[in-house]
Symmetry: C2
Subunit: 221 residues, 2 copies
DNA sequence: ACAATAGTGTCTTTAAGACATTATTCA
DNA sequence: TGAATAATGTCTTAAAGACACTATTGT
């Protein structure tokens, strides 16, 4: 064992969702500890006795604190330093999760969903973590099927395009977007139709759960 | 402070360099502790008393253990679990550094440079960390000026192309590569020439230290 | 019939790939 | 002068962007 005191080890989760075409982040009001009463990313200590991995720790905390089961999650970045947590030198392994809105609980005083372009003050260095999460999401958005993680099991191409537009923060060319999605085999037809619009739209599902792309799905203007 | 025992916190470094057109990784022979005598990535404990950040810890260890000062370094990924270190549940924050070969020390029994395609058995889960580092390098290689970090302050375009070819593991189209590098303003002319080849080649420097690109520098065949 | 949204066709423009050609040095 | 390597020019092909058009439903 080390001669030195060990940093405190925590995990935090940036849970992103799409609500009416807007990117939202789930924030939890801190019930105890430093920054009690403030808004923060959901997170907590790693429990070596029960967690087999950091991702396990995140899932345990999200299940317990927020009643959230995430489909797609990836590790974001590890934040560290003597000053970010008043309890001492700490390490937080931040994770990012993309969840369809209807797989998340309703909003309460304890768990709120905030537009990423209009965030309140956050505890710790969580504003920095959120900024890193958004950079990652926007960077990966054009080169992967990541934005589709915001959608349900099946979705229409217009929905898919709106998800990409929300992630990338710009309008995409309709014809070119559809061409790429179809030509590259990103989705497969379910045979079903969504009848919530005037003209029913074909419902697709992702051909593979997650895929990184050789070329960008960005299709300017 | 937590009710739970805290994981052990370490950092590891994947130091990559380019030697005669081949990607090499620096490995250190373990002088003590678990896996004594085995080859491993250079790494060690975080020292909260003296390190201001994880990157600081890496630089301290590299300076002390290996006499290495890295120019470009980024955080790779955090590895964790109960079994990866015989001393107990541990967290290792892996970093990746790209260094020109001539900025690294000579090879000894204690510090060796191994071709990434022909690695020996490594201590801990370091083989997994190396695999992640290579995935990151190859993924980012085409979409950034990262491979230029293997080169010195100034370099020729043929050198730059060879660095990209080593990173991407494939030959690139000469004319298209040069077109992109020049058109996108990735480099600026130093006015100097490299006279080590028959026809002297113009020497360039990076226009900015590191840059991510909108489009890929891959220029097939 | 008309509004609304889904989906396609096609023309123009731009970028990529292939590869021949020219340029500048050394031996 | 010829071998070697650097650098450019240009033709062909493929992809992206623009945008008009057709299609299928609800009211």
């Amino acid at each position: 064992m080390p001669d030195y005191t060990n940093p405190i080890a925590t995990v935090d989760a940036v849970i992103l969702t799409l609500e009416q075409g807007r990117l939202k982040i789930m924030l939890a009001r801190r019930a105890a500890g430093p920054f009690q009463g403030a808004l923060a990313l959901p997170g907590g200590y790693v429990h070596p006795e029960e967690d087999r991995s950091l991702a396990d720790a995140v899932r345990r905390i999200l299940r317990g604190k927020c009643g959230v089961d995430v489909a797609y999650m990836e590790q974001l970045e590890t934040f560290s330093g003597p000053d970010r947590d008043p309890r001492g030198w700490s390490i937080s392994v931040a994770h990012i999760a993309l969840v369809p809105r209807d797989a998340l609980p309703v909003e309460t005083e304890e768990r709120q969903f905030h537009d990423v372009d209009d965030l309140p003050d956050l505890a710790f260095d969580h504003a920095e973590i959120v900024a890193a999460a958004l950079r990652r999401l926007r960077g990966k958005g054009a080169y992967s099927t990541l934005p589709a993680a915001f959608l349900g099991e099946s979705f229409t191409l217009p929905e898919m395009q709106r998800a990409y537009e929300a992630v990338l923060g710009e309008r995409l060319n309709l014809a070119a977007f559809r061409r790429k999605v179809m030509d590259w085999g990103l989705v497969e037809d379910t045979g079903e139709k969504d009848r919530s619009t005037d003209r029913p739209a074909a419902l697709y599902r992702l051909a593979e759960p997650f895929r990184t792309l050789e070329r960008s799905l960005r299709t300017a203007a």
